[in-house]
């Protein structure tokens, strides 16, 4: 589904290389996790895949079901089925959460030549999905992420994911700033979306999120490369011994 080959990325503003040849394939129906120390390039990978400005791809490719992601605008990548759950969801005063969600859904449908969702169908759908994430009507009406707690922002990200039904979901440190209960709620939301046709890439510092979202494959990233790939046990090893051992072994 998601295929990344030899991806090299520089920062546009400074002369600095962040990704130095990332190779990664996420198959449909699978959950891949990327772990790694601060500054290893995990978040950069998620930004480059979703089309954030400020980066320059110098080598390599990234495709989603064969479509060249790097040639598309961010909105075209989203319409093609890519979704990034942000580490820091942005607050947008004056734009209601529902307006935002419906605008996004219909923009994607329009881009795919699908009919728009009616207001009534949309409301029915969003209410049902919000309920399972314990998002109340008040939160749906409020401006996007304004005055939301850390946990509410992350739940709101998962709600967007549930509504937009992407093929490929990238979660960037979705566990950061969450207490155990909030993490469980978010993980349940993600697990509910696990599906044979959908791929997940879960970026995290800590193993604890992976207790709730069980990965099929775990990658360790360091200094802009994936240095080791293994099964769920690899995450447990990191939890026990830290990154230092692996970094030393691979050096």
């Amino acid at each position: 589904m998601l295929e990344i080959k030899n991806l090299h990325v520089d920062l546009e503003e400074e002369d600095k290389t962040i990704l130095k040849g990332v190779n990664l394939t996420v198959e449909a129906g699978k959950v891949h996790a990327i772990m790694g120390p601060n500054g290893s390039g995990k978040s950069t990978l998620s930004y480059v895949l979703s089309g954030r400005g400020g980066y320059r791809v110098t080598q390599g490719t990234a495709t989603l079901d064969g479509i060249d992601l790097l040639a598309l605008e961010p909105e075209e990548r989203a319409a093609a089925g890519l979704f990034l759950a942000f580490q820091y969801p942005v607050e947008i005063p004056g734009v209601g959460n529902l307006t935002f969600l419906r605008t996004a859904m219909n923009a994607q449908r329009k881009a795919r030549n699908e009919p728009e969702i009616s207001a009534a169908d949309f409301l029915k759908l969003v209410r049902a999905k919000a309920k399972t994430l314990q998002i109340d009507a008040e939160m749906l009406k409020r401006p996007v992420n304004v005055g939301f707690s850390g946990g509410e922002k992350k739940r709101n990200e998962i709600l967007q994911m549930a509504m937009l039904e992407p093929k490929m979901c990238i979660l960037d440190e979705t566990d950061s700033g969450l207490d155990v209960d909030a993490m469980k709620l978010v993980a349940d939301g993600v697990n509910a979306l696990r599906d044979a046709r959908r791929g997940f890439l879960v970026i995290t510092h800590y193993q604890r999120l992976l207790d709730h979202i069980k990965p099929d494959v775990v990658h360790i990233m360091a200094e802009g490369r994936i240095i080791r790939t293994g099964g769920p046990d690899l995450a447990l090893e990191v939890e026990k011994n830290g990154y230092a051992d692996i970094l030393t072994e691979e050096a």
């Binding site: 954030r52 400005g53 605008e73 004056g94 859904m105 967007q160």
Partner: protein, 429 residues
């Protein structure tokens, strides 16, 4: 000195072109005084400090510059879902056919033109009075010119809260129309009135509205100045607030080659509250100026100025706003914010925020910013599949929201938001 000598002939030339309405006898004294004021101060000039950011030339020249007529149907198409009393002026001339009957429960309605002397004794005390008070500490010659020479306008005396708003609808139909309207509104203690205004009024429009608000009364004002690209307007809103009264005014300005909106509000009674807000949209060769003075002259009064401007393709936005706190006006709570969203590098925002405070126990704050669209927010919206132009429009509405939120009524807020959205959607990205 050469300047002072040059000015009177221009005033005479300007006045020579204008005619007083029939039946204006009761107002002659006020008009003569206004003319004296005008002669004393002269027409505005580029060198006047108060006109530093805005060239008054096209507003004071003898003839209104020729201006293509914009579709009047579009102007009439607002507030359609709201039960209101419609009063229509075409190029500044009252249109009795398009207007509703001038009758509204609790409100005495007269027109400045042809008002019978016996009915309008109350207006004698108000007509030109607030305008005259508003001439200090800064001169507002175009308002004095208006008082002296207005051809028509509405006189509203509200003794009980009416069941619906009054909607002044301005239609532009002649390429050379030069309209001068003067409205006077008086609210008795405790009443509430909403005045709506919309439509491009004329090729050139000079408007004064004087609002006298008695104790405990509330005045709501929502105005949409959306026009074509060539219209010019100079408006003045004068208000005096007695104890415990409220004043809330919101103006949407869109297009118009030259717009100068002045507002002078006097908080004269304790615990009064005045809010003035504006959302201005400028694309291309437009100049939109909001010049506000709020004077606190009583205890525990509150005021708010919220002005937002969206500018692109060479548009200029101006904000001159002042909070003046007079000696003894303790416990004043004054707030002022003016912000511009510059959608490109070709546009400019000129701001002069001022505080002048002569009391020691007050809270006053002001802020002014100009900036571009927030790239992080834009990326967030696009990452959800919203195309750049639509995402920009959403963020622009988000930027304007604080000003729009100053409209209390939800239906009116929705209507204004729809106009703002429509304007943005029509703009090429």
């Amino acid at each position: 000195m050469a300047l002072a000598q040059a000015r009177p002939p221009l005033i005479d030339a300007r006045i020579a072109e204008l005619r007083l309405p029939d039946g204006a006898a009761w107002s002659m004294a006020a008009r003569a005084e206004a003319l004296d004021r005008l002669r004393a101060m002269g027409l505005p000039d580029r060198r006047d400090e108060y006109w530093k950011f805005t060239r008054p030339d096209s507003l004071v020249q003898v003839d209104a510059p020729r201006t293509p007529v914009s579709d009047p149907a579009e102007g009439l198409d607002m507030f359609g879902d709201i039960d209101r009393l419609k009063i229509v002026f075409v190029d500044g001339i009252f249109d009795p056919v398009a207007s509703d009957e001038l009758a509204l429960d609790g409100v005495q309605i007269e027109r400045l033109a042809g008002a019978a002397q016996s009915h309008i004794h109350w207006v004698r005390d108000v007509y030109g009075t607030l305008e005259a008070r508003g001439q200090s500490p800064v001169a507002r010659p175009l308002a004095a010119l208006n008082t002296a020479l207005a051809s028509d306008g509405l006189l509203l005396h509200v003794s009980r809260s009416p069941s619906k708003p009054v909607n002044l609808i301005y239609v532009h139909n002649s390429e050379t129309s030069d309209a001068i309207l003067h409205h006077v509104i008086r609210l008795d203690p405790g009443v509430e009135l909403t005045v709506l205004e919309h439509g491009p009024a004329a090729a050139r429009f000079n408007q004064v509205m004087e609002v006298e608000i008695a104790a405990g009364a509330t005045f709501h004002h929502v105005r949409n100045q959306e026009s074509g690209h060539q219209q010019r307007a100079a408006t003045h809103l004068f208000a005096r607030l007695a104890a415990g009264s409220r004043f809330k005014s919101f103006t949407m300005t869109a297009n118009g080659v030259m717009t100068r909106n002045e507002c002078a509000i006097e908080l004269a009674g304790d615990e009064a509250s005045a809010h003035v807000a504006g959302a201005a949209l400028g694309d291309g060769n437009v100049h939109q100026d909001d010049t506000i003075l709020i004077t606190h002259d009583a205890l525990r009064c509150e005021s708010r100025q919220v002005f937002k401007k969206v500018l692109c393709n060479g548009a200029t936005g101006v904000f001159q706003g002042k909070i003046l706190v007079k000696p003894g006006a303790q416990k004043t709570d004054g707030y002022q914010i003016s912000q511009a969203l510059l959608l490109d590098e070709d546009s400019q925002f000129l701001a002069k925020p001022e505080l002048e405070i002569y009391a020691d126990d007050v809270i006053c704050s002001h802020g002014s910013t100009s900036g571009a669209i927030d790239e992080d927010a834009l990326y967030y919206l696009r990452a959800r599949g919203i195309p750049r132009k639509l995402a920009t429009d959403l963020l622009t509405l988000s930027f304007l929201a604080e000003a729009v939120a100053e409209i209390d009524d939800e239906g009116l807020r929705t209507e204004i938001n729809a106009r703002l959205e429509g304007w943005l959607a029509r703009r090429r990205g």
